[in-house]
Symmetry: C2
Subunit: 357 residues, 2 copies
Amino acid sequence: KQIAKIAVLSGDYIGPEIMKAGLEVLAAVSQNTGFNYQINPVAFGGEAIDKYSDPLPDDTLKTCQQSDAVLLAAIGGPNWDQAPKRPEDGLLEIRQKLSLFSNIRPTHISTAMQPYSPIKIGQPVDFVIIRELTSGIYFEKPRMKNANEAVDTMRYNKKEIQRVAKVAFDMAQRRKKHVTLVDKANVLATSKFWREVVSKVAQDYPDVTYDTSYVDAMAMKIISEPEKFDVILTENLFGDILSDEAAQITGSLGTIPSMSTGQTGPALYEPIHGSAPDIAGKNIADPISMIKSVAMILEHSFDHYDLAEKINSAIDQTIQAKIMTPDLGGESTTAEVTEKIINSIQESSEEYVTNNV
Amino acid sequence: KQIAKIAVLSGDYIGPEIMKAGLEVLAAVSQNTGFNYQINPVAFGGEAIDKYSDPLPDDTLKTCQQSDAVLLAAIGGPNWDQAPKRPEDGLLEIRQKLSLFSNIRPTHISTAMQPYSPIKIGQPVDFVIIRELTSGIYFEKPRMKNANEAVDTMRYNKKEIQRVAKVAFDMAQRRKKHVTLVDKANVLATSKFWREVVSKVAQDYPDVTYDTSYVDAMAMKIISEPEKFDVILTENLFGDILSDEAAQITGSLGTIPSMSTGQTGPALYEPIHGSAPDIAGKNIADPISMIKSVAMILEHSFDHYDLAEKINSAIDQTIQAKIMTPDLGGESTTAEVTEKIINSIQESSEEYVTNNV
Ligand SMILES: CC(C)[C@H](C(=O)O)[C@@H](O)C(=O)O
Ligand SMILES: CC(C)[C@H](C(=O)O)[C@@H](O)C(=O)O
């Protein structure tokens, strides 16, 4: 059997703490399963600026390109705010260099998590935001600033929209079979263009229903009727704003993973939160977002849905047992939460072995 | 004494229903107060397209320009979606023609409203969003779309930022003395420029504290810590998204007014919601957003804070008495809510007269 190659980018501040937790869980869940992997740790973000004056050194990029998947913890911090190339620039660059044009953000509020949500939820919430990640106002030119004015450019071509739309409709086919395109087509030319292109892609998916929503209206609906959605497709900037809003309704950013993919090459998995300098080194960072990123890597890059399931139910058990870090109102440490998750995984594996003897 | 001139744009679908309610309350609250006004009803939006093939006819614009304030209900609807100039285009045009560069959106969750909020609120919420309204990606060129690509342009010059920043800092001086600029300065050139210009304006207001937040982070904080903010300043597109999100946490869009102002000339007051074709003609539209717009007009265009206060406390009493339209879970009609508000106003006026005999 082939060995799965995973590039590991631990990053800054709480990054290494939660990466350690994620890798421990990966080791535990893969034991005796036939899933074999090899990790390649490389420098990225602030750490890489300190060592190589570059948030994305060539060697790091090469390692990522030669891996089957990339696992990233979190980068950035006040130390590098004045750097000519900041850690965030490395993030934008790795997205572009690996052509990771679709960013996939699940918003799932399990029964175990409902009490921790800041919104009053009536029904289970389970939707996914697909954000275009390598074009639009984040990357296009002209971009300029002088003493009197500044300009940014939002541009999209047909191909950029088509490929990410396909990701959304493919995903909807495996889920609740509905896609909602979010735009500002009552004002923006790019939004009108998105509507044109996406409605054509939709015709290739007769089993998937399709509608559209303005971005301002969607900012409301994420709060008032999050249970109504399945796959939400949108451009880069709107996706940035809405996916963070969606993360917030789950209760803690510390629990949300994400995945970014291209057409070929490795996908990248990372928690959606930052490097949290204020709580670094205190052993209180929530490891769940990282551990869920590990679950996503197993499911999506290595087709091990079984192992992802094991991790996710171990997380639910841990929350139900109130073994939680302070972001969820608990008093447990990063290490304690991780240990409990690993124990739950091992118990479920033993049960499994026993049941199948 | 001079007579206040108010241009009245009732608009489409529920527009005329709620405008009627607003004008009845205006009549009731001004009685025997020395506040004299005259209303000039003019066509706008879909109504104006039907009559004059133009959502903003010249006569309507002229009446607005010659008034001391403009009261607008709601416009738009499926009838005019294919019109060459849609009702929404009229809205963008009136903003530009009247130079209404700052849009002011209060988010206030009174104790009476707390049970209707979709979020779990610990503390009272009271902040204001100041949205730049006549520039940015809504209006700038190039804007184009062909068969293969589309472009929009986000541009700001110094003057456009300075004038709206001053509105924000002036407002903060009359409130809790804090301004938060919302931007995406880790990516956009226009956002970096906003930071430069606004931080200079801030120096003229030593009594106002000032900080900044990224727009994605703010989309989260509006849900997780709305009690922390005072005045939120932001550019046009971010303001569109965040102000609707903020409206949602109050429980019903049907209760939120807004105000748009320029340097000189009339300000425009309107509910933040649309024309709600689905509930038009049923006598169930919530009139509160319109009635609060009337309160704002009295306070801000005519310096009658006393009358605004009377309206707002009558609204709170009405909600506490559970006289509410269906959007707030009530069973009362538009007319019943309006009548109860008018009764509360009249009772408080009588008390006042009695106490002062
Ligand atoms: C750090 C920043 C450039 C980045 C973005 O805006 O894409 C972040 O907010 C994210 O969503 O991953
Ligand atoms: C109708 C639309 C053009 C408008 C806007 O985006 O400004 C609306 O959403 C608003 O916020 O007043």
